[in-house]
Amino acid sequence: MKLKLKIWRQDDKDSQGLFKNYSLENVSKDASFLEMLDSLNEQLIAKDEVPVSFDHDCREGICGMCSMTINGEPHGPEKATTTCQLHMRHFKDGETITIEPWRARAFPVLKDLVTDRSAFDSIMQAGGFITARTGSAVDANEIPIPKEIADEAMDAAACIGCGACVAACPNASAMLFTGAKVSHLNKLPQGKAEKERRSLLMVEAMEDAGFGGCTNVGACEAVCPKSISLDVIAHLNRDFHTSSIKKILNF
């Protein structure tokens, strides 16, 4: 395959970025999208130019590190697929592909296609856990959990923290991400004790980090590589509102 690439280049956090055009030949249709970029970088090195920086690690769709918007869509055209799992067979010979970083206030660009997503970690640090000190646990089978509940918790827990939901949202909201974690933990009996506290603290942290509010656009669900459902947002809203009301009444 032959491709034309239009890629966002930005030297560092404080520089102005711009799109640059590249052309690339002999791309195998079995190559992954990132392998295609590897080839481009090899070509750039050969020409004594600075290669394109992008985030990636596992290259098997699970670490959540890869993050780029391809032809306007976070993670590109395939449904439920991360950039690293996207293969060139889904593009046409001669096609022009536009590649840019996640765009969101809470995810500043660090270089080229690399953004800073530490705001996600700060949401998790605020309440994305069950307090269970090492060594304090009871026997695992003492807490029977109906299979349906365990399965639902697992569905929500499948989030890889990539940030595509934020990149896709016109408000750059992190509700799908936060909802996924809250649903995972709040659904389980082990997570009930801290349910209210967790919902409040995580939503607060989300707002503090500069993410926007949710206006039910649904773009997040459409691009999520792990098919996290909008239900998690409903769940989060419910738990958040109950907690807020209780908090108000307590005062």
Binding site: E42, V50, C63, S118, Q125, A132, A137, V138, D151, A157
Partner: protein, 646 residues
Amino acid sequence: MNLDPKIPEGPLSEKWSKHKFNMRLVNPANRRKYHVIVVGSGLAGSSAAASLAEQGYNVSCFCYQDSPRRAHSIAAQGGINASKNYQNDGDSIQRLFYDTIKGGDYRSREANVYRLAEVSSNIIDQCVAQGVPFAREYGGLLANRSFGGAQVSRTFYARGQTGQQLLLGAYSSLNRQIGLGKVTMHTRHEMLDLVIIDGHAKGIITRNLVTGAITSHAADCVVLTTGGYGNVFYLSTNAQGCNVTATYRAFKKGAGFANPCYTQIHPTCIPVHGEDQSKLTLMSESLRNDGRVWVPKSKDIAEKIRAGHLDPNSVAEEDRDYYLERKYPSFGNLAPRDISSRSAKEVCDEGRGVASTGLGVFLDFRDAIQREGEQDIRERYGNLFEMYNRITGEDPYQTPMMIFPAVHYTMGGLWVDYNLQSSIPGLFVGGEANFSDHGANRLGASALMQGLADGYFVLPYTIGNYLGELGVSAAGSVSLSDPAFAKTEKLVRERLNQLLAIKGNRSPRSFHKELGQIIWDYCGMARSQSGLQEAIAKIDELKHEFWTNLRLNGRLDNLNPELERAGRVADFIEFGQLMCRDALMREESCGGHFRVEHQTDEGEALRNDQEYSFVGVWEYKEDAKPVLHKEVLNFENVQLATRSYK
């Protein structure tokens, strides 16, 4: 080099509890005076950092990714072992211990393995308490599956994402401690050297991967949980950033490196597609519970399949060779990894391989789908089938999957004693980075167990003991003004500048690829004396070329992934040679190490217990060959036997 394993006295089953009792405790009020560095945030690192912080120590934790949650533990699919015996199928600590020793081909230390089996149950309890959504039965109790090399169902799993869920569990405990201010997390930081003061590990040098800043960090002790070195092969199931740098730098500072040649080639990976391939994807071995492995009996049929002239489904039963079931009737498709991988290589060497390259065998679900229905199979392996489909474009419900072995895990690592302390005092090593529990071959679902055992249940005690021995007056006494920091920092900076200054013609990746090919060809599934000698010579040449012909663009003080890669490749090159030396030294076949000179008439591995029942530990020598030391393995509780899975 002091290789005293410090195995506690007494019967095997009492060693750990007695040892825990005998260890020093640090008074809770004094713990906050100590500072511990944990490099790595995978299962071993996150769990250790969180548990140490819970106990009250101050912890700094480092990882090269942008979040601790992305450590490569996240990619583990299949499951985690524990001797819970929830299935009432005869499992016990004793049996898990025995299976692990046998699976490791009698090349691991009894006392460590027993402790691992002993704490395995606590791990599951801990993870459930954290909210890890393990698979459950309809009654609400935990479900189990069986895994290669075991005849009981002791594997706990969370769909095909067990590693992810366990890591998210550990990450959540870590987050809680970060939120409480007990752990300071340094993401996008790579450790580039270890700092030693008065013979003890007291700090590290890192590079901030975003700004390029090179910084010193001081502590009362250092823990390395930096994962395995499988990427020495270039193509592997590891993440792109997995490296040997942290452990190799420690090796260069005097830590013994144990059994580097013990590497595991996993039998069920997706075959290579072409030149620009950058990694190999594992299909969880749990697939072997229901999939049947076969190749055609004849070369002719195999050739037709390769050329696309014959649909594998139409190959008649009598023309199929279910070679694992034939050769190992009692374990069949669940034969251990090394055996399964080597068998696949054999049939492909005979010209009976499938896939366009001839390097592939079938893993066929036809019978399982007929027996249990597509729905059941979908429930069990749906996400794995999807992943396969995404990568290859083929549908495994219709056409048999194709698999081929790939490098997956490294049993070798920094040598540690029973306390997981390396040969450098104050340097502790956990998870895949140490050599400790798997001998010459690791059983499926046992790495997650070991990482969490080390991090939750071993290191927090043994580190406390070390710190207790230092005494409170020493706590926090290491200062960055110690000249050792400035000196090491300077060396790190010089090395990076040297890499940037070569200005040759070849990219870091091209060197990595070439190294990987050498290691795969000569130090992969089958190794020979002449091949290994050749590899050692070739690596010398490659090293020379690297340091004279490398081309790097970009700056030191900016995000520069090629510079990162170059640094890692430089270490892999030297380390690859160490691996070959170790493989050459070990004149026997055991576990993942197969020397063609040492096999039975039937082609099975031939161990040499008389001469090689030891851990091979290498000591670095400046400008000279590394020196071998031996830790002799004493087996008091198991009888050494020929490993048989027939």
